[in-house]
């Protein structure tokens, strides 16, 4: 997740807190938050992940003029595109979004607050494999994202681990 400009805004924090089911006024009510220990609105602990909104290349967001792999008239836009170009019959499985999220770790250097304009810079970490009974060979890859403020100071360090499975995870 990389972004040259991740503006932290109160309305985005409000929507994010709603989505994770947290009615705490410290995320939503400027007046109540000002009188709290936090001294004003802060972002919830996992909010850094919403920097995806500001990553121009983030692959899990539909983009203008590009084929989206989710469903429309067919179960995947890629199936439709392949059929239209004569490369596929529209029946075979189109590539999925790929990986699943295995782990996520945040280190907080200070609270994110509305008005912060952060940068997010991601570098790859380690890669390893493991055999699993439910999903075949698992390939893990780590990435580390540093969120810094306008002064270049670290605000949050995020370490994510993604996993690609050889097959769909068995529900048995």
């Amino acid at each position: 997740m990389s972004a040259d400009r991740f503006p932290v805004e109160a309305s985005h924090i409000l929507m994010f807190a709603r989505a994770v089911g947290d009615p705490n006024p410290v995320y939503a009510d400027a007046e109540a938050a000002a009188g709290s220990e936090a001294g004003g609105i802060i972002a919830p602990p996992t909010f850094a992940q919403a920097s995806a909104q500001f990553d121009p290349d983030y692959p899990l967001r539909p983009k203008f003029g590009e084929v989206w792999f989710g469903s429309g008239s067919m179960a995947s836009g890629r199936m439709k595109a392949e059929k239209a170009s004569g490369e596929g019959d529209g029946e075979k499985k189109a590539p999925s979004g790929g990986g699943l999220h295995a782990e996520q770790h945040f280190k907080y250097h200070r609270n994110m607050r509305p008005g912060d304009v952060l940068t997010a810079s991601t570098k790859p970490g380690e890669t390893w494999t493991k055999e699993s009974r439910r999903a075949g060979l698992l390939t893990f890859s780590e990435s580390i994202t540093e969120y810094r403020d306008q002064d270049g100071e670290l605000v949050v360090t995020a370490r994510g681990i993604g996993v690609r499975t050889e097959k769909v995870i068995s529900q048995d």
Partner: protein, 137 residues
């Protein structure tokens, strides 16, 4: 309020239901707020016919966010120094999740409390495990 060392001891637990009967709409709400629109989380034809799952399932980060409510309700607002989790099982529409935090260390020298965190579904299956560290008052 931030916890103070005098209020807690190792082994103490805190628990709450963080979502009751998870709806597809809440998963969509999380997609919109987070920006992660992977259709596997919200698009039934894609999840079933292309990806091969029985239905859509929640973002791991939604489960981490839901569990984060228990963590911050326990340690106080804006006091976390670390929060990390493993996603150990998928979370499906209709799931009811209960998150539990247990105090594993009270470090009075550095004024920090360490917690282990686990979230289970209505069948008692663990969906998330993790740890959190927060500053004490």
């Amino acid at each position: 309020m931030a916890l103070s060392a005098a209020d807690i001891e190792v082994g103490q637990t805190f628990s709450q239901v963080v979502v009751d009967d998870l709806t597809r709409t809440q998963i969509v709400q999380y997609a919109g707020a987070s920006g992660d629109y992977n259709p596997i989380h919200s698009d039934e034809p894609f999840a079933k016919e292309v990806a091969g799952y029985p239905t859509v399932f929640a973002h791991g980060m939604l489960t981490m966010g839901l569990t984060g409510k228990l963590v911050t309700d326990t340690v106080g607002d804006g006091t976390l120094t670390d929060y990390g989790v493993r996603f150990v099982n998928q979370v499906w529409p209709g799931d009811t999740l209960t998150a539990t935090a247990e105090v594993t260390a009270v470090n009075t020298d550095d004024n920090l409390v360490e917690l282990s965190v686990a979230t289970v579904n209505q069948d008692g299956t663990t969906v998330l495990t993790g740890t959190a560290t927060a500053r004490l008052a």
